[in-house]
Symmetry: C2
Subunit: 290 residues, 2 copies
Amino acid sequence: MSLIVFHTIADCKAWLSEERAQKEGKSDTGFVPTMGYLHEGHASLIQKARAENDIVVVSIFVNPLQFGPSEDLDRYPRSLKQDLALCETLGVDLVFAPSVYEMYGETPIMTRIHVDQLGEYLCGASRPGHFDGVCTVVAKLFQIFAPTKAYFGKKDAQQWRILRRMVADLSIDVSIIPCPIVRENDGLAKSSRNVYLTAEQRREAPALQQALQQVLRRFQEGERNVDKLRDVAMDRLNAVPGLRLDYLSFVDDETLTKVMTVDEHHTVLCAVAAYFGSTRLIDNQELVGL
Amino acid sequence: MSLIVFHTIADCKAWLSEERAQKEGKSDTGFVPTMGYLHEGHASLIQKARAENDIVVVSIFVNPLQFGPSEDLDRYPRSLKQDLALCETLGVDLVFAPSVYEMYGETPIMTRIHVDQLGEYLCGASRPGHFDGVCTVVAKLFQIFAPTKAYFGKKDAQQWRILRRMVADLSIDVSIIPCPIVRENDGLAKSSRNVYLTAEQRREAPALQQALQQVLRRFQEGERNVDKLRDVAMDRLNAVPGLRLDYLSFVDDETLTKVMTVDEHHTVLCAVAAYFGSTRLIDNQELVGL
């Protein structure tokens, strides 16, 4: 079957309803919500969705709700034609590529979904309203597609944890599947925003993962004190002239609250965000106790 | 078929899934969310749901999220046994009567749904957080039951309008059906909270509807100036010694923002809330232009 592309919610619902009726019981649906400009990270999510489901849906929508007023909404990279070609290659059944008007209507959307506490630190602190925008659009997409499983990259460490909490709290019937970070050869996490980087910034950007790797190594050697682990990372990050740190945080993997030591009973998430020029990149590493 | 009563979300989902599979295509589901202590107002919603659907579900849950810290959560009246008897009489298929723990879990719910603007005036102004609590619980119940139609009384004039907006914004596949206010013989709107009233307060309480009726009469006689319509209502309300006014507001029926005149193109909602002792009662009247 070749790729179907719809731009309206009504078309998606009608198609899915028919498809599910035809497939009777064999209609598990894998969903990969994206903002387009697809890279190998997205591809890995789509491949996993394809392997685990009968129907695979990808949405491509640069969601204005999750951008702050001074953020990069207007220049966020777009490449619908290439995105569709990739989706076709990967065996996607349906791509939903709506306009902002189709998603949020004539009188702009008034509803917001907020998840408390989990959004306080990390990207939530530097991007107020960002996760409300993510939760709102994802909840809406979940209503439209009623997926069995939804796939998210672990690069956005806070995002999938917040969404997992949202679907549990609201009894939304979907499994949130976090998937491994896909990286460039030099370790830089794949991101649509990497295209913003100048050649020099691109050379410097792998420092984020290098810092996290050095933290992981010291952790594996037995260091459990967060201040000392932080020093290890900062030594590496401070050596990058073009880098401006947003945050380097050690938080509990479940509650996303700050921790001072890594104990045996909890996994700690070490997360970093930094600017190269005006481009903000993020990366993270889980430190798994016993 | 006799009434089924479940206390867990999982039981409800399993039963509904089987029931819908059996009924194939004839499984329209009518849902009446309540806080119990059912009266003839609830009964009218259930009867309408029964007439219009194949499956009828009633939830009975005193939702702590929609009570403020100084409100009547602890003393809110409960009567599960009588409620179940009424539901059985009315031909309800399933009653869902969960505990707070079943609904919101061990680590309290972190997710909130907020609808902007529509909640600014009327009860939203005097009960901060109330409608967030209503939206959150109703959205969750909608996920559990996936109803075709959900029934709400027009006494809560702001509630069904906010919920209608929420389901449109989030593409939740359910029709919100507002139903006429059911009243006592003397005009007092039926409410579970009427039981709080002393004999004297109960005698005075119909003043709310009488004030609204006088507004309606003057409106039908041609008065379009809101200040003058307000004076008519206040004359009646001021004559009640035990009544403390919370608000008397004239708002646009769609946007719920205050209006100064009633023009031909909009329906205006005249809404009132008042305390009798510590008991807060509400009522409202639509003023329909040409």
